[in-house]
């Protein structure tokens, strides 16, 4: 037996297919196809949660995505825990562990329920008004306390072990929703040959056919027709049917996000399958067939477990075979609830009474109720309910007052009418329009190429829905360039046409009352809270929403919106359309972060770039650092060495013998063409006309505002060909910068730019023995100082491989940079190592490279400059061509502020205590004893221990720095103040003789 409230013969589940699950540790029986909600109800469990603010006992209100109360935690294991799952949409699987939320110590006895007694103190806006002072208390007392008490559910603490996938899809027609309307539209569209995707959030298509058993289409039972139609569509090659897939967001140009739940319903999912799949669909046309959501009635204590939407009770009975109670009351302002009573009555459930707020219900349902012997109280209201953890009675009174009659019940069904689901339409930026006659917001002005059909378009009648949907399917296909060969027709029939509906507070919950008549169950917002918000001056519906939290969180206006709006309008004395509707936001229902992130996590979060020699460096024991997307060898520790020891050894070795460095990450751009030199003249501050082929020059590039943008060595390979290098991090933006000017400002220049960063492996060989190391390997290049001076480039061969060999140095030592085609990098690296190591040379990493260049006062753009540094500030004024008529930044450089005195300039710093290494980023002051806050005159940009100098060295940007050379400044740190002397930027080999070997 799968629950005492299961009615034999009712519903569409198979009695033989059972499953067991646990709710708060207790085992329950279920049937395959049950949702957690239907299975709990089958076992007579209505109490499933506690409300957010007052901790009131709450039960299952709906049978779908609009569920505000039944939020549960689902646990598969320690890592796979999902909080805030709506019990009405989660399938039961065998062995499933479900836990209730927002209660302590237990669901039936919750300490937090004291909030309900203290409710008068927790009026709307309570937080805003109460926790105002003392100011400090917010940070240290109020916020931590509120945060601890707030929130529903608990996040898992371990990394998610599931994986998620992502797909892009294109189609001619996307149909959102697979009820009668969606299926009809998809059918008509598919027949034209258009590519169709149809999705529905439920496991099975059918929408309202889940509960409305009276529907037949072409003489067939409605739900059966829906399944057959979906199967037919799925067999068509041009159609994709996606059940368990929610369209959660509608973005620009018919770009719609779908969330497909692939394994959520499986007991033991194949771990190869993604848990969820994100579909990013670009549709030529979209048909919105999202149906309507039934509203609850707003009356005193309308939130007890056992009180639910009439259509939900009908779904539980007709689809899941579950009776939600034994003696059921109905409170309605709309005909549809009658049909729930009829279905339950026919299934053997006692209907205590139908209470109808209207004097005149629909003729058809009234007659049927009478013939079934159901008591109907028209012009009456439910003015209160009884029961602690489940409803036990309703108090019914004639509209306008009079004695209340208490009727014992164990469930109460309600319906205030139907709210068209305009969420998708509204998200598409369509403007809704208020329909006075039916008191509904309906799609008005469309902003995108979409159409709404069926209940979400305000179409009530079944046959009208079918015809409208078939027409829309065909129309949208035509618009995408497809035509139908035959007209489709379907004949639908159902039992009753529905009339009625109301918005706002019902009998006994009006403006003069203080009862708890909830409009938003999830956020604990009552009718009186809306009125309070208006009284306190919130006149815009957007303000009212934020003040009361009405319609926030997962609700997004599904249940609460219209009631809240109606009450606000009434209190403001304005008409509903004048008050306006809050904006519907994506996502329609919550989407897991896993789905949105899908593959982009861990190693796949961002591309990793590795140099051709990476594996060799790794094998050698290099420690790597991240430089943008690059992995760069940071240092090469030997046995027993820490980072400092390794770096000190590498630094010393390079200057004493030689070192080998992987410089492949340097940006490289090939600039070619008859106007190449002219182009570089405009891009760099330097002059390039005078550079002869075979020679190199250090170039500086500015932005138009005059600040240093990038730097690097440029070699002239031929009259019309330059080998440009950029900083590692600047490669892409420099390329963009050059392309921008070439394409848009200097299009008259005949120049081609090609990124060559990854085409060349670059091996720097630096140090006194550099020439000795490469000489045996190089062919066709005279390496002597005379034939191949510093800042030259030659083409030749190394180990038989073509090379562009640069004579250049970023260490101040005799140096070469061997460029070879990337694939030969590892072989040449090994060949050079084999020559170098017997001589006592070593490989070195980026840390040593940084120290060595700082010893020579060579700047790193982006470390020693920050986008506010001019060439002059960095003592690089010599690189700016004084006679040039134009270059990018020429005018910016002359701005008054850029030539003013007192600019921050790059200088060296020597700590008075040579063993103290400054911290990069530390602030510099002139007088350490001045009052706080001190006047800061600069900051440290680079600081290292220099083994070669036998002391610490640093570079810093200091206001008027060059004039302060020789002066003492101070670097205040949390524990001490460090005295420093300002110096020039060259700490080692000031004469610069070593560069010539």
């Amino acid at each position: 037996m799968s629950g005492a409230n299961r009615i034999p013969g009712a519903g569409r589940l198979t009695p033989a297919k059972t499953a067991r699950f646990f709710f708060d540790g207790k085992s329950y029986a279920a049937l395959e196809g049950d949702t957690v909600a239907s299975a709990l109800l089958a076992n007579g469990v209505h109490l499933v949660g506690r409300s957010f603010k007052y901790h009131r006992p709450r039960g299952i209100v709906s049978a779908g995505a609009e569920e505000p109360n039944a939020l549960i935690g689902v646990e598969r294991d320690a890592a796979r825990k999902q909080p805030n799952v709506r019990a009405t949409v989660q399938d039961v699987f065998d062995g499933m562990k479900v836990i209730s939320q927002n209660r302590w110590p237990s669901l039936a006895f919750d300490v937090g329920a004291v909030n309900n007694i203290l409710a008068p103190f927790f009026a709307a806006g309570f937080y805003y008004k109460t926790f105002m002072w003392p100011k400090q208390a917010w940070k240290h007392v109020y916020e931590p306390q509120i945060r601890a008490a707030a929130g529903l559910g608990v996040s898992p603490t371990e990394d998610d072990t599931d994986h998620y996938s992502s797909r892009y899809a294109h189609c001619d027609v996307l149909v959102i929703g697979a009820g009668v309307a969606g299926l009809s539209a998809a059918l008509a569209a598919a027949k034209t040959g258009a590519r169709v995707i149809i999705c529905d959030e439920q496991p099975e298509v059918g929408g309202a056919l889940h509960y409305d058993k009276s529907v037949t289409i072409d003489g067939q039972d409605g739900f059966t027709w829906a399944q057959a139609t979906a199967a037919k569509l799925a067999r068509m090659e041009n159609v994709k049917v996606l059940p368990r897939t929610t369209a959660f967001g509608y973005y620009a140009q018919n770009f719609v996000g779908l969330n497909e739940r692939v394994t959520e319903h499986l007991a033991k999912p194949d771990r190869k399958l993604p848990r969820e799949r994100l579909w990013q669909v670009r549709a030529k046309r979209v048909i919105i067939a999202t149906g309507a959501i039934e509203r609850h009635m707003v009356f005193a204590n309308n939130d007890r477990p056992g009180i639910m939407l009439a259509s939900a009770a009908r779904t539980f009975l007709n689809h899941f075979g579950v009776a939600v109670g034994k003696k059921v009351g109905v409170y309605t302002a709309n005909d549809s609830a009658y049909e729930a009573a009829f279905d339950l009555k026919r299934a053997g459930v006692t209907i205590a009474a139908i209470v109808d707020s209207r004097e005149q219900p629909g003729e058809g349902v009234l007659t049927e109720a009478r013939s079934l012997g159901i008591e109907v109280l028209t012009g009456h209201g439910v003015v209160d309910t009884g029961g602690k953890l489940r409803i036990s009675s309703m108090s019914v009174a004639r509209n306008g007052g009079g004695a209340a009659r208490k009727i014992a019940i164990d469930a109460l069904l309600m319906s205030a009418g139907w709210t068209p689901s305009v969420h998708m339409f509204s998200q598409s930026r369509g403007k809704v329009a208020y329909d006075n006659e039916t008191q509904r917001f309906l799609p008005g002005t469309y902003a995108q190429d979409c159409l709404s059909v069926g209940a979400c378009n305000g179409t009530n009648d079944l046959q009208a829905t079918i015809e409208e949907s078939l027409a829309a399917g065909e129309l949208m296909s035509n618009a995408s360039g497809f035509t139908a060969s035959e007209k489709l027709a379907l004949q639908g029939a159902n039992a009753f046409a529905w009339t009625g509906g109301m918005a706002g507070a019902a009998e006994g919950a009006g403006p003069d009352t203080t009862v708890k008549a909830f409009i938003d169950f999830q956020n604990d917002v009552c009718a009186k809270d809306i009125r309070l918000a208006v009284r306190e001056g919130m006149h815009s519906i957007e303000h009212i929403k934020r003040f009361t939290t009405n319609g926030m969180a997962t609700d997004q206006g599904k249940l609460s919106n219209i009631h809240g709006l109606a009450i606000a309008a009434e209190t403001l004395g304005r008409e509903i359309p004048k008050v306006g509707l809050t904006t519907f936001r994506a996502p329609y229902t919550p989407v897991t972060f896993g789905t949105l992130i899908n593959h982009s996590r861990g190693d796949l979060f961002d591309p990793t770039r590795k140099t051709p020699m990476h594996a060799l460096e790794e094998a050698q024991g290099a420690v790597f650092e991240d430089v943008g997307q690059w992995k760069r060898a940071w240092y090469y520790p030997r046995a027993g060495e820490d980072m400092h020891q390794a770096v000190n050894r590498e630094c010393k070795t390079v200057r004493d013998v030689a070192g080998i460095f992987d410089a492949s990450t340097l940006g490289k751009i090939e600039v070619v063409g008859p106007d190449a030199a002219q182009f570089l003249n405009l891009i760099y501050t330097n002059s390039w006309d005078t550079l002869k082929a075979g020679r190199c020059r250090y170039g500086i590039m500015l932005r138009e505002d005059g600040f240093v943008y990038d730097d690097g060595v440029v070699g002239r390979m031929a009259e019309d060909r330059f080998h440009v290098t950029t900083t590692t991090g600047g490669a892409a933006r420099v390329m963009n910068h050059m392309e921008d000017y070439l394409q848009t400002e200097f299009p008259h220049l005949n120049v081609w730019l090609t990124s060559a960063t990854e085409q060349w492996a670059v091996i720097a060989v630096q140090g006194p023995k550099a020439r000795e190391i490469i000489a045996p390997l190089v062919e066709g290049i005279d390496l002597s100082n005379e034939a191949f001076p510093h800042m030259s480039v030659r083409e030749g061969r190394i180990c038989g491989v073509p090379t562009r060999l640069f004579r250049m140095s970023f260490t101040g030592e005799l140096g070469f940079e061997v460029n070879v085609p990337a694939d030969f990098g590892p072989a040449i690296w090994e060949a050079i190592r084999a020559e170098a190591e017997p001589l006592g040379a070593c490989t070195y990493g980026t840390e040593t490279m940084h120290v060595l260049r700082a010893e020579k006062g060579y700047i790193i753009v982006g470390q020693d400059t920050d986008g506010t540094v001019t060439p002059d500030d960095a003592s690089l004024g010599w690189a700016v061509g004084k006679k040039k008529p134009d270059f990018v930044g020429i005018r910016g450089l002359r701005r008054p502020d850029l030539v003013a005195d007192g600019r921050k300039q790059l200088v060296g710093l020597l700590t008075k205590d040579p063993t103290v290494v400054l911290e990069e980023g530390a602030q510099i002051v002139a007088d350490p004893n001045q009052a706080l806050p001190m006047t800061m005159i600069g900051h440290v940009t680079s600081a290292y221990w220099s083994e070669n100098c036998g002391r610490s060295i640093a570079l810093a940007l200091v206001a008027g720095g060059k004039a302060k050379i020789g002066q003492t400044l101070y670097v205040p740190m949390p524990d001490k103040t460090i005295a420093v002397e300002v110096s020039d930027m060259v700490f080692f080999d000031k004469e610069g003789g070593r560069i010539n070997g």
Partner: protein, 114 residues
């Protein structure tokens, strides 16, 4: 995510392939060194940041790599048209909408269908 028509590739591609590149039709003066501070300020720093129709530069970065110009409405976020760099501002009154006419109301299309 928008679809943007690249005037060089002559097709609509996903926004992911493009990068915005600031206001369009601001030519770099040829007499840079003769500009007054005020003129340089106007050229380099001052932008209108309009609400509504704006002309801006885009680059088909992860595509053909070309810079081009676009007329875009900053309120609706819609591209009215795109055109090659160097061409003058198009006359928007004569412009065909960048995409086919948007369906205005259900009623309008319903009557079409019938």
């Amino acid at each position: 995510m928008l679809l943007i028509y690249c005037p060089y590739c002559e097709e609509e591609r996903s926004e992911l392939e493009f990068r915005q590149a600031g206001d369009a039709h601001i030519a770099r003066p040829t007499n840079m060194t003769e500009m007054t501070d005020e003129e340089f300020e106007a050229f380099f720093f001052l932008r209108d940041n309009v609400k509504g129709l704006t002309f801006e530069r885009w680059r088909h970065l992860n595509g053909c790599g070309r810079f081009f110009n676009a007329a875009r409405d900053t309120v609706s976020d819609k591209f009215l048209t795109t055109y090659k760099a160097g061409l003058p501002k198009p006359d928007l009154s004569t412009l065909r909408p960048a995409t086919e006419a948007t369906v205005e109301t259900y009623e309008a299309t319903e009557s079409d269908a019938k």
